[in-house]
């Protein structure tokens, strides 16, 4: 596969991250319910062309690192009724994350 421009991978498994709260117009791949929440990087999937740019005819470059991030359900929902160690993991692009 040809080499494509890729943004640097800023996080590694185990790193704690917070999801940015932003409301840009248009297509985003980060659901609102996870914004401002803190989780830990579980897995690095590699880099993918940014779908938030591809949606508007862009080339999606540089490709953005994509991570599987794990959150405690109790961190996401104040009213979570299941066991407090239940978790939710979600794929999030690098530009939505900041160190926590």
């Amino acid at each position: 596969m040809p080499q494509i421009a890729t943004a640097p991978q800023r996080f590694n498994p185990g790193d704690h991250v917070r999801v940015r709260r932003e409301a840009p117009a248009g297509h985003v791949r980060t659901p609102a319910y996870i914004m401002d929440k803190t989780g830990a990087i579980l897995r690095v999937h590699g880099a993918f062309r940014n779908p938030e740019a591809i949606a508007y005819g862009g080339d999606g470059l540089p490709a953005m690192p994509l991570y599987l991030v794990r959150f405690n359900q109790g961190e996401i929902w104040d009213s979570y009724s299941g066991p407090q160690n239940d978790t939710l993991s979600m794929d999030l692009f690098d530009h939505w994350l900041e160190p926590a």
């Binding site: 596969m1 791949r29 980060t30 659901p31 319910y33 996870i34 897995r43 999937h45 590699g46 993918f48 779908p51 994509l66 599987l68 794990r70 359900q73 996401i76 929902w77 979570y80 009724s81 299941g82 066991p83 160690n85 239940d86 978790t87 939710l88 993991s89 979600m90 794929d91 999030l92 692009f93």
Partner: protein, 215 residues
């Protein structure tokens, strides 16, 4: 809940008897016509994509899971890197198919897959997702109250077993390896594959007990 015992907020497609195409059917046709007219794609490319999706079904995922149950080495490769392991089974796997991450249910932890943003699903392996998977009800409730949703599928998860929801928001699709049912030691790989239901590979159900499997 409905008699199917799973969340629904839309009727099954094909149940409406209207001869006239509905709003979405007309919209899709208009969109396809515009894309062809502007040279973005051809009608035959659209037809080929539809055909390729129709070729795949949950039975294909069932074969992959059954191989993983039979062969620990294969399961390790599948969990480490989904696409090459699926290709090993003889399936056509190409670069333009989304990544596949495979997870395994255990006594300690079980998974439930959802796409809250739309309906991301490992279509290239399992075919089209079920209607309930695309419903607003499932997409909104699976992340907030996964244990209640699983209970509605008939699955009471013990409080000591953790539940992890996987919200597939991007370029990765998720497949769950359900736990191998007890009493299946003597079964062949083909027989095992019949126990692996579509819902079990989303994490919403267990694999069938052998006496429940249809011939």
């Amino acid at each position: 809940m409905t008699e199917h015992n799973h969340p629904h907020d839309t009727p099954h497609p094909g149940t409406a008897q209207n001869a006239e195409p509905g709003y979405y059917a007309r919209r899709v046709r208009a969109l396809e016509a515009a894309l062809v007219q502007k040279g973005v794609c051809t009608t035959s490319e659209v037809e080929r994509a539809v055909h390729e999706m129709e070729l795949r079904s949950p039975a294909d995922g069932g074969r992959v899971v059954a191989r993983a149950w039979m062969d620990p080495g294969y399961k390790a490769r599948l969990l480490a890197n989904g696409k090459p392991a699926v290709a090993e089974m003889g399936y056509d796997v190409t670069d333009d198919m989304p990544e596949l991450v495979v997870v395994e249910n255990t006594d300690q932890l079980r998974y439930l897959v959802v796409c809250t943003l739309c309906s991301c699903y490992p279509r290239w392996l399992l075919g089209r997702p079920p209607d309930w998977y695309k419903s607003l009800s499932y997409r909104s409730r699976a992340v907030v109250e996964p244990r209640s949703v699983m209970a509605e599928f008939g699955l009471e998860v013990h409080p000591d077993t953790g539940v992890e929801v996987l919200d597939s928001t991007a370029d990765v699709r998720y497949l769950v390896i359900p736990q191998r049912p007890s009493g299946t030691d003597g079964l062949s790989e083909d027989e095992l594959a019949k126990l692996v239901t579509r819902d079990s590979m989303v994490g919403a159900a267990d694999a069938l007990a052998p006496q429940l499997a249809a011939d």
